[in-house]
Symmetry: C2
Subunit: 346 residues, 2 copies
């Protein structure tokens, strides 16, 4: 199991608009017709659902897919899956009667008996909604050809939480917006998001702040539009945000060159030399170094996808999964992991 | 003139206890018998004093000494001399009827018509009081063989300010005490200094703080002891402070290795990568890097005397003297100066 989850996959791939959009993510919620929703189902019923799905999905090539019962996983393995967003916090915590299907490339996962019977998730680098939608749609169709989904002609796919009813689709892009944050324009974006049916939230921020100038932008509406319409709408607004971000970066370069160059260079210096570093601090400096890279402020060549890769690799469980690490050594290992990545261009 | 003052001399030499003591300094105050003290002397009288001294000291080999009238110097030249402590702030500011004698190695200077007719100063790297005392004493004897000093059998050398009467000698050592500062023991030293007749003050600190953990430790008493006794007493206490500093550093290394290594490495990273840096900030980080060097925390080899050298070279006038530099470019030039020095081991 370990070898599947320690490395990053889509995170180090190239993708559209990757100077701003690190990754895209999409999920579909589905439920089986003949069973209670998970929160009402007994453990026996949940296990029956797992069996039914395992048998129905037996056609999936076993070499490319892993079917895992959550109770069989160690805490650290669950934590790594969580850090990669392959499972939710809840799925890592409450493991009885729950399972997970993931593919080899780690760009597709299906949580079984989370809030809904199936939570199909698809991932990709850059702004690649059509690609990841196609992948999720394909496996959704495959599953639907084997089992009966709970579906209403009036409401569409039925889900545990009514906010998901309809397409039961939520798409999101992880956007790196240092230009908008530094110029203060991010407040305008946040203020306008609701009007466009979008949710914008800091990726690592609890409450107000965001760490690493990373924001998850996703659709709020799942009902009344087709999947394609929802994705197109979200994508077109994200393209506008991308343009605003690029303009802000250009503005900073032209109007505040010395300040920006200093911020960026110091961040690179700290990351290259720190002996130990906490996660949030690392994210802050990585974000700045990434900004410097997109602005062409370095003579040093850094791997194009260093930020997307390290975003995951510097997290607690990722740092510990390959080898037991004492608690007070994790920050040291994080610093070393970053330094190794910044030294070598892949 | 420029070529004499742009480079550092004694600052990059080795000296005793240089892991703690960056440099030693000593001055003698002398006045000529037949003239008013400078604050009472007219401009005509002051110029007469300069002429008298220039003629008396004509025997000094001209190739090795420079005799400069303060009014002939540019503001920037005076500022550089000030930054090197070759002249006082007052001597740079009020230049009428004032002159300066300096030797080629810049380890001897004589201010003429500052607070006293002569202020003989001698400098050296490390804790080298006997060496610099010998140099000052020698030129003092030479001068005394040519002119008549104002001297009282009861009081010793007479000076403008009564606190200097007697030997008119003040010796000081510039000590780098990061271990004592970080462990909090510096407060004990400061508290006890007065009892031993010492003055301890932050080198760049105005008021309470010190920048770069640098302290000037000097004698307060000039009367009632011989020059040798004053120097011996000061030196023996400084040796105790050196021992305390070394113990504190060892303590930090043994008890707080990860924290100290992180502080030191980040400081090195910031100095190596910053695009622009202010003087006080540079001193802070240079101090930490110096600590790291003495603790053997680097794999990189740095010039042994980088700190003593940069202490002067990063100052405003030093950065501008060789080439006109716009005000907003000084911090950039400072960063580059540091980076050049840290890259090359001389």
């Amino acid at each position: 199991m370990n070898h599947i989850i320690t490395d990053n996959n889509w995170q180090i791939e190239d993708g559209a608009e990757k100077d701003v959009v690190l990754g895209s993510r999409l999920r579909l919620a589905r439920n089986l017709e003949d069973f209670h929703f998970p929160y009402q189902a007994s453990l026996t019923e949940k296990n029956k659902i797992i069996d039914e799905l395992f048998n129905s999905l037996g056609f999936l090539d076993e070499e490319n897919y892993y079917f895992l019962k959550m109770n069989d996983l160690s805490d650290l393995e669950k934590q790594v899956l969580r850090e990669k967003n392959l499972i939710s916090i809840d799925h890592a915590k409450n493991t009885d009667g729950r399972a997970l299907l993931i593919n080899n490339e780690l760009n597709l996962s299906i949580m079984i008996n989370e809030e809904d019977h199936l939570r199909i998730q698809s991932f990709g680098a850059g702004l690649e909604f059509s690609k990841i939608w196609h992948r999720a749609d394909q496996i959704d169709d495959l599953i639907e050809s084997k089992v009966s989904y709970s579906f209403s002609d009036k409401w569409g796919y039925l889900t545990t939480c009514p906010t998901n009813v309809g397409t039961a689709l939520r798409a999101s892009a992880m956007c790196h917006l240092p230009g908008l944050v530094i110029t203060g324009k991010m407040y305008d974006i946040l203020g306008a998001a609701g009007k466009f049916g979008l949710s914008v939230r800091g990726v690592y921020g609890e409450g107000s702040g965001s760490v690493g100038e990373l924001f998850q932008i996703s659709n709020q509406i799942t009902l009344g539009y087709s999947e394609e319409e929802i994705i197109d709408n979200l994508e077109s607004i994200i393209y506008q945000i991308i343009e605003e971000e690029r303009k802000s970066r250009k503005f900073l370069l032209e109007n505040d060159y010395n300040k920006i160059k200093d911020i960026v260079m110091r961040s690179l210096g700290i990351l290259k030399y720190a002996h130990n570093i906490e996660e949030k601090e690392a994210l802050k400096y990585l974000s700045r170094v990434k900004l410097g890279q997109t602005l062409g402020l370095f003579s040093e060549e850094l791997d194009n996808n260093f930020f997307g890769d390290l975003l995951f690799k510097i997290r607690k469980a990722h740092l510990q999964i390959d080898k037991f690490t004492e608690k007070d050594k994790i920050d040291i290992k994080r610093a070393k992991t970053i330094q190794k990545k910044l030294l070598y261009k892949e």
